[in-house]
Amino acid sequence: MDLVFDLIIGLSLAGVSWRIVRAREHFQAIVLFITFGLLLSLAWTRLKSPDIAIAEAAVGAGLAGVLLMDTLGALSSPRERAKVVISLKLLIPCLFLAGLMAYSILYIPEDFQGLGIVVREALPQTHLEYPITAVLLDFRGYDTWLELGVLLVAVLGVLCIRRTDNIKGTMLPAPAEPVGSWIVKLLLPLMVLIGGYLLWLGAFAPGGAFQGGVVLASAGVMLWQSGHPSLGLMPRLWWKILLCSGFLSFLILAFSSLFYTDQLLTHPATKTWILGVEYAATLSIALCLISLVLGSPARNHENKGV
C-alpha cells in the first residue's frame, strides 16, 4: 500500500514538473509550481523528514509562490503566452543525463551507514534531545551561521537594487483588496502560536529555528497582503537590529568562545547558549524572509518617490 502511495507521489512530481516546463502561460506555470511544492512536502513526510516538510510547505509552496506571483504581476500580463517548443537538441542530452544519474542509483551500497550513529553518540554533549537541531546549531554551526549571512546579503542586495536604505519604506504598499481583517484576526494569533511552539519543540522533537522562523515569516507576509498597518509600526532601528540578530549572535558566540578555548564556535555545556542563538536565528530568519518578500515590489508609484 505504501509502495503504491510512493509511486503515485513520484509519478505526479515528475508529471507536474514536466507540465511546469511545458505550460504556455506563466501564470499556469506558477500555480503548478505551488502544487509541486506541496507534493514535494508530501514526499518529505513519506521519507520521515517532518522538519523539511514544514519548511517546504511554508517556503517552497507559500513564500516562493507569493514572490513569483508578485513579480509576474509587475512584469507582464498574467495571460501572456510563451512559445514552448520541444527542442530535441536539448531534450536528448537531458534524457541522457537522467539515465546516467538513474544508473548511478544502482551503485548505492546496501550497508551504507551515514552519520546517524555518530550524531546519536555525540548528542548527550550538546544537552539537546533532537539530532537535527543539534546538527544545525552545534555540529554544523558554520553552515547555519553562513546561511544566516546569505539571507542578510540577499536582503541587502534587494535593497541595493531598489536603491533605498530604508527598510521600512518597503512596507508601504497595502494592496487594494484586503483579504478581510477577520481572517487576520483568526489566523495571526494561531500562526504566532504555531511558530513559537515549533521553536520550543526544536530542543526535543521535530521543529526548531527554521520551521518556527518560516511560519512567523508567512504570518508577516499575510499581514502585509491584507494591508494591515501593524508591520509598519515597528521602529526602523529594531527592524535593522532584528535582521542582523541571527548572524550577530553566532558572531558573538564565535568570538566569546575564543576566550576559553582555541576553537571557534565551541560553547560551554549549557543549553542557554544554544537556545539564545536559536531564538535570535528564528527572529532573524522570519524578518529576513519578510523583508525579501516586501522588499521586492518595485511598483511604479513607489519608485518615483525613492
Binding site: D6, A14, V21, L72, S87, A98, I105, G114, L136
Partner: protein
C-alpha cells in the same frame, strides 16, 4: 529499498526536467522556476540517500543540510526575481536574448 529507488529516480527526473526547462525558456521567470525544480530534485536525492541508511532513523546531517538549502534557495530566488524586475525596468523585456550571437556572425 524500493521506496528509496522510487524517490531517487523521481529526484533525477526532476533535476533533468528542471535543467531542460532552464535551457529552453528565454523568459527569466520561467528560468527561475526551473532552477527551483532542479533544487527540489537535488534535495530529494539527498534525503532519499539519508533515508536509505541502515539505522532505523533518518540520517540527520543531510536533513539539516536540506533545511539550510531551502532557506538559501528562497533567498537566491527572491534576489533573482528582484534582478529580473530591474532588467524589465531597464530593457522593457524580461528575456535572456539567445539570438544575439546569430545576428553578429
Amino acid at each position: 529499498m524500493t521506496t528509496v529507488i522510487i524517490y531517487a529516480l523521481t529526484a533525477t527526473t526532476l533535476f533533468s526536467v528542471g535543467l531542460y526547462g532552464f535551457a529552453i525558456h528565454p523568459d527569466l521567470i520561467r528560468k527561475i522556476v526551473s532552477l527551483n525544480i532542479m533544487a527540489g530534485g537535488a534535495f530529494l536525492f539527498l534525503i532519499s540517500l539519508a533515508y536509505h541508511t541502515g539505522s532505523p532513523e533518518v540520517d540527520p546531517v543531510p536533513q539539516a543540510m536540506v533545511l539550510t538549502g531551502i532557506v538559501v534557495t528562497i533567498s537566491a530566488t527572491a534576489f533573482a526575481l528582484c534582478l529580473a524586475r530591474r532588467i524589465k525596468e531597464k530593457t522593457g523585456q524580461c528575456l535572456l536574448e539567445h539570438r544575439r550571437k546569430d545576428t553578429e556572425t
